[in-house]
Symmetry: C2
Subunit: 109 residues, 2 copies
Amino acid sequence: METETLGALAEPTRMRIVELLRNGPLTVGEITNKLQIRQPQASKHLKVLNEAKIVDVHPVANRRFYKLRPQPLQEMDTWLSTFRSLWENQFDQLDEYLTKLQNQSNREE
Amino acid sequence: METETLGALAEPTRMRIVELLRNGPLTVGEITNKLQIRQPQASKHLKVLNEAKIVDVHPVANRRFYKLRPQPLQEMDTWLSTFRSLWENQFDQLDEYLTKLQNQSNREE
DNA sequence: TTACAGAATTCCTTTACAGGAATATTCTCA
DNA sequence: TGAGAATATTCCTGTAAAGGAATTCTGTAA
């Protein structure tokens, strides 16, 4: 999967934008209002998200609606799925648990 | 979920380290060799991953074994699951499909 | 056409971070 | 204790990226 996707999401404001768009497309102005940021910053962040193909633009008259694209997030999900055994496997969980226990007793020495 | 997790992974070398560690713990030297990078860079990247709680260290004699911690990746997975309807839902897929079709016909004009 | 609203771009400054090279630290074992 | 292997840290430099402010672009409606 693309590190560009992660890089684009690794910025708090952009994370919030993506979370907003989970509920459907929004215009730049709506995003600006909901996040209480300045319009140029919103546009700049949206540009980054757009270049990372995380969002699409749909102009309607004077406005531009931004909308989530499934693909990059889906690719992240697929990539993460290759790690799922780390926490779905009982033995690994037990292992982590024992490690924590051990750390605790170490601290007591 | 933490943007720190995403930031740590949004660097190609660190992604590769995490992917290596999927198969089990490795020492700094092993990572250095497998990735063909310099040892200080390996240590530096591991430090970032460690501060993001993506890896744990287990000293054994002279070496330090680095091991994946499930939690941050699991949190990413949980976060992504809130977007899963974007690509699991038939209607959304159809919507994307129609959008692509429309873009194609636009290009032909 | 003009004026205006919505959105994008540019310029500037500051800060964070990556790699290279050198050096320091830590642990083991003879 | 001293040497050496494994790893971490420091210093330097270049670069990318974020926010603020100002400006520009674009489409709409009168």
